[in-house]
Symmetry: C3
Subunit: 152 residues, 3 copies
């Protein structure tokens, strides 16, 4: 099944990616890699999770937000010539979690993104991953996810 | 116009990159990519912006510092065989902003770097970007910028 | 000398990498690059350094922990078909140091990883590097190290 078909089967709809984007772009293909800009958990034009985890935002909310970031990363690829079906796999995922200094379960949050890629890409969706805590993120988002895809 | 000519036209002078560098290097080419080490806003041998934004350093200062980091990234490429004219475009920019926990406009700071690349490389300078906040940086710099260039 | 021989000569033993790993993998080869997941300073099944530097963990301990992360990155490659001897060099190292907001010597900590790669790979081990501070890390580790290797 193509990734387009997998997304349809999983009932995942890729949102539109609205511009203009200014000096950077949501996705850039270089050779057989696609670099995706750091994605915030935008959903229907709004951030679905803001604030440090867990004092201002629950871990469960942050997991769901990380999943949305992964969907948004696929949406960024959809904008490129060739769309998502040029994706052969996921090379690397970087997850920044807006964290209280005492929060140490960033991997649990990151799983929200990682498992989305597994769901729609299977073994090809497995990737190297770095998950870290930070004291703040753009627009006070609870999580930001960066991705490098491998292309056909 | 070559990048060398563009830099001259923009009146941007690439600073010397002084060694020794120890166990890491300012720039490393691998295949068609050049990985650049995290650049601090060094200018004439001194950091031009230190401290958390905005309590200890203004946003405007940090924007200017991010631009300097981007210039320093080009200077790092200039040291390699082939110099800056081997650059075909910018693949990815990572921007770490030394931030108060309440500061959430890291993208504005990052634009200082992104716009420099657009200025001298045009559309080829557009890139995927991740901008995040951190609670501290080496030498108390206000910003650190990491770059991956695409080569000819 | 092969890297396997260099490690033996340096008396460095690569630890086993225990699974299962869930939705991500310790190492993923894509073209001529191997992306390594963010490594924590695990040693004999335990973290060898936890806590912010320097209030809860000394700089010297963090340097040693960063070195262990680099060894663990090599162990992750050893699990792949072809093992460590497919490594031609180190492209990029990212070092996240669990830091007090007043700690600004992340590069010293990062040298623990960088110098390990130089020790066993010589000039090919030199790499572009980004070292930053963060307010917390998974499992309260004092350092996390991410690596991109270049392959033969």
């Amino acid at each position: 099944m193509s990734l387009t078909d997998q997304l349809r089967a999983a009932n995942i709809v890729l949102p539109p990616v609205n511009g203009p984007f200014g000096a950077y772009v949501p996705a850039k293909r270089v050779g057989n890699l696609i670099y995706i800009a750091g994605q915030l958990p935008m959903n229907d034009g709004q951030l679905m999770a803001t604030g440090q985890v867990p004092s201002r935002r629950s871990v469960d909310d942050a997991v769901a937000a990380a999943r949305q970031c992964a969907i948004n990363a696929l949406a960024a690829v959809q904008m490129l010539d060739g769309g998502v079906d040029q994706i052969a796999g996921v090379a690397r995922v970087g997850v920044f979690v807006n964290s209280d200094a005492t929060f140490t379960d960033q991997p649990k949050v990151a799983n929200g993104a990682s498992e989305l890629f597994m769901q729609v890409l299977g073994d090809a969706g497995k990737h190297a991953r770095a998950a870290v805590g930070v004291n703040t993120l753009p627009r006070d988002a609870s999580v930001e996810v960066e991705v490098i895809f491998e292309c056909r």
